[in-house]
Symmetry: C2
Subunit: 204 residues, 2 copies
Amino acid sequence: MGRVSDAKERLLEAVRELIWTGSYGSTTIDQICEKAGVKKGSFYYFFDSKAELAGVSLDLELSEKRPIWDGMFSPAVPPLERFDRLCDYLYEEQREKQERFGYVLGCPLFALGSEVCTLEAGLRVKIQEIFALWVMYLESAVREAHTVGAITASDAKATSQMLFAYSEGMMTQARILNDLNVLKGMSMGIRQILGVKPPVLVEV
Amino acid sequence: MGRVSDAKERLLEAVRELIWTGSYGSTTIDQICEKAGVKKGSFYYFFDSKAELAGVSLDLELSEKRPIWDGMFSPAVPPLERFDRLCDYLYEEQREKQERFGYVLGCPLFALGSEVCTLEAGLRVKIQEIFALWVMYLESAVREAHTVGAITASDAKATSQMLFAYSEGMMTQARILNDLNVLKGMSMGIRQILGVKPPVLVEV
DNA sequence: ATGTTTGTTGACCGAATGGTCAAATTCGAT
DNA sequence: ATCGAATTTGACCATTCGGTCAACAAACAT
């Protein structure tokens, strides 16, 4: 078996934080090593480039997010409520980042994808795949919401596509403006795109 | 007066293309100089950092775009048609970029803003200002469209804000996927957000 | 205990990077 | 023609960057 180490994990954690709080291009291997407390020799023992490290960190990101998505979009949750949970989750996530780093960081995949899509084909493809998977969650919820009769939007494919663009646009705008309040309008915007029918009011 | 030169303009042109086709962080001063056909000494004669050059290039971007925006959103154009013109313009712009560079490049401001907002405060502020101006065009058109009775959306502020997030999200998605077809759905999406009332059909 | 595998270290390299400068050049103005 | 302002040039510098390597250390298996 030989010697054991968590240097690999520390490198992965470091690169994620550096890219998210800064950018891919401005993050150097030296920086990553320093933040991870790992010497450069060890870096090259585990990975052979920044791009490969970032690629593995995307795998990690996906494996962490999937159970969260599965929870939010569980079939046990009424379809419309899934979107509420999503908004709450995103807001809370961003609030925490702002508290910790002083910045609203937005969506790590969208920012990274936009930055490197013309430069790092491997990363671009991985990000595309994650997005395709993510849209499946949205599409399924839209379809179910429509089946249940909760929304007017009938074209699940087109609607989920709209929701994706809108929500990512909102997250990125929040990042650029460094303003959490942007996200407060997201729930309403999503409901409008979905064409949520007004709930039956109950007298108290 | 002394010697005359267009080196400054060439540098501005070079940096815009390099950032747009690649990224801010991956663009070096040496690269900019080479593409502009300018020696590094001259670069530092005109600018004192990459950030300052990028800042001036944003001023240039705005001064070029304003007349285009003024044309598309002219009061002489029916409010709803302004959005059609916008979609056509964006599609044509991206089509041209893809033909020239092999990539759909998306919105240069959104991509740059997302990349540098935590790193370059000066650029972040400038981009924020341009966005604020741009949303004014959207908001005005939404307000007029509603006044004219062409759309159901009544809250011009919230609606223009949604349009902004959605359209920027679409442009960035087109960049990440390097797919022009993404943009084909934009006109419909905008109409849905606006709540465009079905036009009165005329028998032929 | 001893070899074997796995991970660590620090020194090292060449290239690229941001940045400076004094000298040379080119133009407009007088 | 020539003076002065505006621009160009190429050489130069220190630092940082990505990347390599041989030697070393720690764990496990036998």
